[in-house]
């Protein structure tokens, strides 16, 4: 790293890395801002496109650019329970609450995170599956049990493809243009999603940009869900009548005697 770059890096670090003078700017666009759920919906994919913009005054850097894209879904209070042995049987005993946890989380980068930034920066900047959930002011998980529960939570949601770390999820099309596909599985909840794109060089954040998209039900799916909530009695009666009708119909169709 040249001396100049090092000074710039320190300056960028001090200023929080956002929009520091003579730094790069990040321009991002998404292939779509809305995912519509229809009856044949089985998940979807969006692509984040980005351009690193430099002007004449931007310093030359010795290090290549790195990009980390973090997509966060709707947040809920999650209750994590652990089964423990009690005599001969296994039952839920300890539990931990994780308020404001994202139900969907994808962290995509152009190379493994530990090659891009130090673990300390990752924690401070809330980068990576383990850190993205932490509230800003909380430091390390001093409580070993909480850390274990957090790992359990990440593991379970990763099995359902709701949590995903993609170490090669960002592709540089040229030295300054990149794209990152975001897979949204069908089980991802409806609601608004936030995408944060951060540009790094030499382990230092240079610029960041946020954008968003939403997952909504449409057409029949939307109407049925709305009816279930707005007209519960009618919805229930229709379901019951349909059940009785189908039951009667099949006994007529199959009647032989």
């Amino acid at each position: 790293m040249s001396l100049l770059a090092r000074i710039t890096a320190i300056l960028a670090l001090l200023s929080g890395g956002v929009g520091a003078a003579r730094a790069e700017t990040l321009i991002a666009a998404m292939s779509s801002h809305q995912i519509l759920i229809t009856s044949n919906y089985t998940g979807s994919q969006l692509t984040v496109f980005g351009v690193v913009e430099r002007d004449g005054r931007t310093v030359a850097r010795g290090d290549p650019y790195d990009v980390v894209v973090t997509a966060r879904g709707p947040q809920r209070m999650l209750l994590v329970r652990e089964k423990e042995r009690l005599g001969p049987i296994w039952i839920n005993r300890t539990q931990r609450r994780f308020p404001d946890s994202s139900l969907f989380l994808t962290v995509a980068s152009n190379r493994p995170l530990n090659e891009i930034i130090s673990s300390e920066t990752a924690r401070r900047e809330r980068v990576g599956l383990e850190n993205a959930q932490r509230s800003r002011d909380a430091g390390l998980d001093l409580d070993v049990t909480t850390a274990r529960f957090r790992e359990g939570l990440i593991r379970i949601l990763a099995v359902k493809n709701l949590y995903r770390a993609r170490e090669r999820g960002v592709t540089f099309l040229s030295s300054t243009v990149f794209s990152a596909p975001i897979d949204v599985p069908a089980t991802a909840p409806t609601g608004s999603y936030e995408i944060e794109i951060v540009l790094y060089a030499g382990g230092v954040p240079l610029a960041r940009q946020t954008t968003n998209f939403e997952v909504v039900k449409s057409g029949m799916e939307q109407n049925l869900a709305a009816a279930a909530h707005d007209l519960p009695l009618v919805y229930g009666m229709v379901t019951v009548l349909m059940a009785l009708l189908l039951g009667w119909l099949s006994s007529v169709v199959f009647r032989r005697d």
Partner: protein, 309 residues
């Protein structure tokens, strides 16, 4: 082919759901049980939220038992008088069960209560039935009558309690007290476990009241139809967790399966009927026991406790 379920909020394979509900419908028609105790765990296993699974299965069970009720009604194998008492007692039991359900949920031990009840109920009932069925089969092998013949004028003491009533369709002359008590217990268990209770009602009517098997099945289906119709409406009103698309799929498979089940029941002799039902109930109990006793591969579980679905 996949279809998206608007309330459960996930896509599901149409062929798989039809196959599953068809198989469970067959069992339901064969034994006169609702099949909820088989279908609900299967749906939860397919990642459908438990609340949606329980509520939607109630609708499916209502539909598939309609088919059965009509079939048994035509064959005059349905005791409306007995069924009426069971329904009234069942309502009382359901209310008590809902109160118990909510207090256990407040204590945070609902899941344990449910698993433990499944294990104890199914293992004990299934075990007793299996023992009885095997003993009867051995007697047949030895050339004796399958079971000791009922002698005229003898009956267990509970049938002789006050308030005796005649149930001509069931060839029963019995006190109302034990019948109403049985109905309350079944309503209670049904509300807590989210099942219709047919798997308890059928053996209880056969063993404790010695009602002919065909009438037992028809009457049990009638009780289930009434309970599950009410349960579907309650679920739709209170927690909006009935998925109508899933209900249609389950019904299509279920009603067709139940037809074949009801037909197969006619070609099945009483002893094999009891043996098969015993094995079915016992295996469900053992499946839950495994969950309780075997160290879990993933000790953690995640529940969403806040926010709208």
């Amino acid at each position: 082919m996949q279809i998206y379920l608007p309330i459960a909020e996930l896509p599901i394979s149409v062929v798989m759901v039809l196959g599953l509900s068809g198989a469970v419908g067959f069992v339901s028609g064969l034994f006169g049980v609702g099949g909820g105790f088989l279908l609900t765990p299967l749906l939860i296993f397919l990642d459908i939220p438990p609340a949606v699974a329980v509520a939607t299965v109630a609708a499916q069970v209502a539909g598939s038992s309609t088919t059965g009720v009509l079939t048994y009604w035509r064959r005059r194998a349905l005791d409306l008088k007995l069924g009426g008492i069971l329904v009234v007692g069942g309502i009382v039991g359901t209310l008590l069960g809902v109160l118990f359900f909510n207090s256990m949920r407040r204590l945070g031990q609902l899941e344990l209560v449910i698993t433990l009840s499944y294990v104890t109920l199914f293992t004990i009932i299934g075990g007793l039935m299996l023992y009885d069925a095997l003993r009867a089969m051995l007697r047949v092998r030895a050339g004796k009558p399958a079971r000791l013949k009922r002698r005229a004028g003898t009956h267990p003491w509970w049938m002789g309690l006050p308030l005796r009533m005649r149930f001509p369709d069931s060839q029963l002359y019995c006190s109302v007290i034990p019948i109403a008590l049985l109905a309350v217990v079944i309503g209670f268990i049904g509300a807590v476990l989210g099942v219709g209770g047919g798997f308890i009602l059928v053996p209880a009517l056969i063993y404790f009241f010695r009602i002919p098997t065909a009438v037992v099945v028809g009457t049990s289906l009638f009780q289930i139809l009434m309970t599950m119709t009410g349960a579907t409406l309650l679920h739709a009103l209170t927690n909006q967790s009935v998925d109508i698309i899933l209900a249609v799929l389950l019904l299509l498979g279920g009603v067709i399966g139940a037809q074949f089940g009801g037909r197969a029941a006619r070609n099945l002799n009483v002893e094999s009927f009891r043996l098969l039902l015993a094995l079915l109930i016992l295996s469900v109990g053992l499946r839950f026991a495994i969950e309780l006793f075997i160290p879990p591969s993933e000790p953690f579980s995640v529940v969403i406790t806040e926010g709208s679905r």
